[in-house]
Structure formats: structure tokens, C-alpha cells
């Protein structure tokens, strides 16, 4: 009897699990396949096919050495070669360039996390800053980085800083924004009754911050950090464009675009998004490790 019931339990959870699984995995896969199909057709139509056609390779324009629109398998091969075809210390290795970019991005991310939190703390505690500073924080994000990045590089170059630091600063200038906004919201999230409670203990402002505001803000901080991480990587790549840098995914993109190397460009882009995905994924794992701090669903 009890076995039968247990059996039913297993059966039901298994059945309930299938549609859940398929919805999460199948739908994105179908979309991806559709995209790849459209892409493949476009690659067939767009690319010129000189030599390969003569050699009888089909579909000939998928393997054009200088394609206008590289085909999916061609990009896959180029990405693979870029990642694993060279030793990681070689300037042709995309891992090498990704590491250079990631280093600057992590530095910028750290800077942004500290700066964003500090700004939010100031904004929440000083009413004047709420009116005076927050509007500028928002305006700062409407200025295109592409315009400010060269200025930062040149200005910091005059001050004797080059390499990692200007890139980190550019990266942080993008990434601090979600942290500031998220932390402002999080630090203000405690309910009145929670604040009143601490008031009955005659708690100081500092105690209210550490015992209530800060832990209340953690559920807002973690998603903000994930957005900040993605922005930090974008920022680091943009920061590599005007430096004439020899290393980094941005430098690689610049070289590829100057020389019309579409394949290298696509491969670099894919490595950039893989890097961002890994970094954001690492933060998501951290969030999982702190279940108590997740927002109530």
C-alpha cells in the first residue's frame, strides 16, 4: 500500500517534471535552430564563392576565406581555433585576449561595486544628495561611452596611467550605475515597522545601517551586480578600442575591423559573450549560495 503511494508520488513528480524541463530547454533550442537556419541561408546568398566552388566543396560559399557573412560552422571553427589552436600566451590566442579584458573588467567591476555602494549609501543618508547627486548619476549614463572613453584614456595618459587602469575606469563608469540604483532601492527597502523597532532600541544611524539597511539591500545588490558585471566587460572592451592596445578583446576587434576580417570579428564577439556569461554565471552561483538573501518571490 505504502509502496503504491510512493510509486504514485514518483510518477507524478516525473510527469510534472517533463513539461517544466522542455519549456526551459526546448524553447530556446528551437529558437536557436531557427536563427541558425536563417543565418545559413543568408550566408549562402551573400557570400561570393570563387575558389571553393571550383574545388567542388558544398555549400561552397560557407567556407569562403574572406566571407561577408561567415556561416555558422565557419564561425564555430574559427572560435574553436582562436580559443584552443594556440598556446594561451600567444597573441593569437583568444583566451589570452579574453584574460587581458577580464582583468580590466574585474578591476572595473570591483571599483564600480565599491563606488556604487558608497554613492547609494550617501544618497540614502543625505537628503541633499538625493536631490543633488542622483539626477547627475542618471545623466551620466546618457553620455555615450564611445565619446568619453578616448578622453579618459588621454587624460589618464597625461597623468602617467596607462594599460589596465584607464580601462578599469571606463568599465567602472558603466558598471557603477546599476549598483547605485539597486542599492538606493535596497537600502530604502526596510519597512517603517522595522525602522521603528530599531528606534525603540535607541540604535544609532550606523547600527541601523549594519543591522537593517545593509542586509535588506543584499537581495537588490546581487541582481544589480550581475548587470554590472556584464556592463563592466562591455566597458573594458570599449576601453581597449581607443588605446591602440595590443592586447584584449577590444584590440582584437579593432584589428579585425581595420582589416576586414569578419571571421575574427565574429569569433572575438562570441568569446566576449562567453566571458561575460561565465563571469555573470559565477555571480549567479554566489547568489544561490545565499538563499536567505533572495527577494521573496
Amino acid at each position: 500500500m505504502s509502496e503504491a503511494i510512493a510509486g504514485i508520488g514518483v510518477f507524478r513528480t516525473a510527469r510534472a517534471g517533463v513539461p517544466q524541463w522542455s519549456r526551459r530547454i526546448l524553447a530556446p533550442v528551437v529558437i536557436l535552430c531557427a536563427l541558425l537556419a536563417i543565418w545559413s541561408i543568408a550566408a549562402t546568398l551573400v557570400n561570393p564563392s570563387p575558389a571553393a566552388a571550383a574545388a567542388g566543396i558544398w555549400p561552397s560559399n560557407w567556407w569562403n576565406p574572406r566571407p561577408t557573412l561567415p556561416s555558422p560552422p565557419q564561425i564555430a571553427v574559427a572560435t574553436w581555433t582562436g580559443l584552443f589552436g594556440y598556446p594561451v600566451t600567444s597573441p593569437r590566442s583568444l583566451i589570452y585576449h579574453a584574460a587581458v579584458t577580464l582583468e580590466a573588467a574585474l578591476a572595473g567591476f570591483g571599483l564600480a561595486a565599491v563606488l556604487g555602494t558608497a554613492l547609494a549609501t550617501a544618497i540614502v543618508h543625505v537628503r541633499l544628495l538625493d536631490r543633488g547627486l542622483l539626477p547627475w548619476v542618471i545623466v551620466s549614463q546618457s553620455i555615450p561611452v564611445l565619446a568619453t572613453a578616448p578622453m579618459v584614456v588621454v587624460a589618464m595618459g597625461y597623468m602617467g596611467f596607462s594599460g589596465l587602469l584607464p580601462k578599469a575606469v571606463i568599465s567602472a563608469s558603466l558598471a557603477f550605475f546599476p549598483v547605485t540604483i539597486g542599492m538606493c532601492k535596497g537600502l530604502r527597502s526596510p519597512q517603517t515597522v522595522q525602522l521603528d523597532l530599531l528606534r525603540t532600541y535607541n540604535a544609532s544611524g550606523r547600527q541601523v545601517f549594519w543591522a537593517l539597511r545593509w542586509p535588506s539591500a543584499i537581495p537588490y545588490l546581487l541582481p544589480a551586480l550581475k548587470i554590472a558585471m556584464a556592463l563592466a566587460i562591455t566597458g573594458a572592451i570599449v576601453g581597449e578600442l581607443p588605446t591602440g592596445a595590443q592586447a584584449g578583446l577590444g584590440a582584437r576587434l579593432l584589428i579585425a575591423s581595420y582589416n576586414g576580417l569578419m571571421l575574427l570579428m565574429w569569433a572575438t564577439l562570441i568569446v566576449a559573450s562567453l566571458t561575460a556569461g561565465l563571469a555573470v554565471g559565477a555571480l549567479a552561483l554566489l547568489e544561490r549560495a545565499l538563499p536567505r538573501f533572495r527577494l521573496p518571490a
Binding site: V193, Q194, L197, R199, Y201, N202, Q207, P215
Partner: protein, 279 residues
């Protein structure tokens, strides 16, 4: 005769010793609270006076919006009166809050979801800067006092509503205040749980010589717990009647079937009907 030490000891069980009766724990004098509103001024409280002696258990009862919470918040220095004075332990309410001389139990448990029951009870002890081992010992004792010794390591979402409210009472007790301000602490609970917690509370009050000011909407609860019941009415919020409750300090639930209990209940009910009739 009151000068003999023997008479004094006997006195404690029945009435207040003279000196303590004179120095009220809480004294509210001609207090008014008004808020600006669209139709001019809204009087949340008007000309309220109340003196609470040591070891009294006062219940505030009255229709919604009559200013019960407002009055409690004034005593706790969470709000300020528009006019009138409030004294707590002979000083201002600000000083009393500074000395952490009261424990406040809110209408909702207001537990921190990232802290366990024990850690929640330790919160005020952290604020006053108690050493870690002392904190733990005192918080554990406070949890035991509300019958939650075995739930110490559970998180708020793992506790029932009644247990959460008991944790919040333990949190208020952990500072060992002599004055307890409680705002409808059992409002959201079922009758049986409420009875249990009422028994707990009356024991704590008697055993620890607490002074309690307690807000409730329940007449039996007020009569069971109180030494005095303050009936209030709304618009403007004011005290409409004060009913003495001469039941013995040691109480069990069966007291509710005694004629005295029923007579006091009727008095409170009449006072409340008048208050509601004014609406």
C-alpha cells in the same frame, strides 16, 4: 501600621506600596495629537490623561482609529504629542527610550527574515553592545520564557504566525524591560493560541513584576489580562471610561466563567457600545 515592614510585604500582593503608587511609571497629561487634513485639523487624540503605576496591566480598547496605537507610540517616543506632556519613569519619553526602559511589541512580528529566531531575539542585545556569550544566554532564556526553546535555530518563514509573535515578545523581553508596550500582539491569532499566549503573558507579568500597556480589540482578553481597562472612543480620539478590574493577580483561564469576570466584561461592553454609538 503601614510603617511596619510586615504590613508592607502583605501590601504588595493586594495594592501598590505608597511610594511607588505616587511615582507613576507612565503619566500622560492633557495630551493631544492632531494632523492637518483636508477638512482642517484631524484630532487623533484629544485631552488624554492617564497614569499607570508599577505592576499595573492596562488594556486600551476601542474602535478602530480611536488612537490606541498613537497613544502607545507617544509613550514609546516614536511620535510626539501636539500638546500635553508625557513622563516615563519620571523623565521624558525621549530619556526613557534612550535608557531602553521599555520593550515594544508591534502589531506585526517584524522579524528579520535573514536571522534565525535566536538571532532575532539577540538583535536588541547586539545594539546595546552585550558580549556574544551573554547575548546568547539571555536570548535563549527569553525564548524559553515564551516556550520556544526548541525553535531557536529556525528562520521566521519556518515558524507559524503565533510562534513568530512569540519570538517578537521574547525579543522585547530580552532587554529585561520593566515596562512592556504591546500593540494588538495577538490580533491575528486563533482563539486557542491566543488563550495560551494570554496565560503565558499573565504569568510573565506577575512573575517579573512587569508593567504592561496592552492594546486589544477583544473584551475577554482585556478583562482576563488587565488590572485596569481604558475604553476609548474616536473622533476625536479620547478616553471614554476607565474600568477597574479587581481580579486576583494569579489568573487561570477558568476565571472567565466567574460572575466577577462576566460583570466586568459587561461594563466594558457597555462602555464600548457608547463609544461606537458616537461614530
Amino acid at each position: 501600621m503601614p510603617d511596619s515592614p510586615h504590613a508592607e510585604t502583605l501590601d504588595i500582593e493586594t495594592t501598590q506600596p505608597r511610594e511607588q503608587a505616587r511615582a507613576a511609571v507612565v503619566s500622560v497629561e492633557n495630551v493631544a495629537v492632531s494632523y492637518p487634513s483636508r477638512e482642517g485639523v484631524f484630532h487623533a487624540l484629544s485631552d488624554v490623561s492617564l497614569r499607570v503605576a508599577r505592576r499595573e496591566f492596562i488594556s486600551l480598547i476601542g474602535p478602530s482609529g480611536c488612537g490606541k496605537t498613537t497613544l502607545l507610540r507617544l509613550i514609546a517616543d516614536l511620535a510626539q504629542p501636539s500638546t500635553g506632556t508625557i513622563r516615563v519613569n519620571g523623565g521624558t519619553s525621549r530619556q526613557a527610550r534612550g535608557d531602553r526602559s521599555y520593550g515594544y511589541v508591534f502589531q506585526t512580528p517584524a522579524l528579520q527574515p535573514w536571522r534565525t529566531a535566536l538571532a532575532n531575539v539577540m538583535l536588541p542585545l547586539e545594539i546595546i553592545g552585550l558580549a556574544a556569550n551573554e547575548r546568547r544566554a539571555r536570548a535563549t532564556a527569553a525564548l524559553m520564557a515564551v516556550g520556544l526553546g526548541d525553535a531557536a535555530s529556525r528562520y521566521p518563514w519556518q515558524l507559524s504566525g503565533g510562534m513568530q509573535q512569540r519570538v517578537s515578545i521574547a525579543r522585547a523581553l530580552s532587554l529585561r524591560p520593566e515596562l512592556l508596550l504591546m500593540d494588538e500582539p495577538f490580533g491575528a491569532l486563533d482563539e486557542i493560541t491566543r488563550d495560551k499566549l494570554n496565560l503565558h503573558l499573565t504569568d510573565l507579568w506577575r512573575d517579573r513584576d512587569l508593567t504592561v500597556i496592552f492594546v486589544t480589540h477583544s473584551i475577554p482578553e482585556a478583562v482576563f489580562l488587565s488590572t485596569r481597562i481604558v475604553a476609548m472612543s474616536a473622533k476625536p480620539g479620547r478616553i471614554s471610561r476607565v474600568i477597574d478590574c479587581g481580579l486576583p493577580r494569579r489568573r487561570t483561564l477558568d476565571i472567565r466563567n466567574t460572575p466577577e469576570f462576566l460583570a466586568i466584561s459587561k461594563q466594558v461592553r457597555d462602555a464600548l457600545s457608547d463609544a461606537y454609538a458616537n461614530e
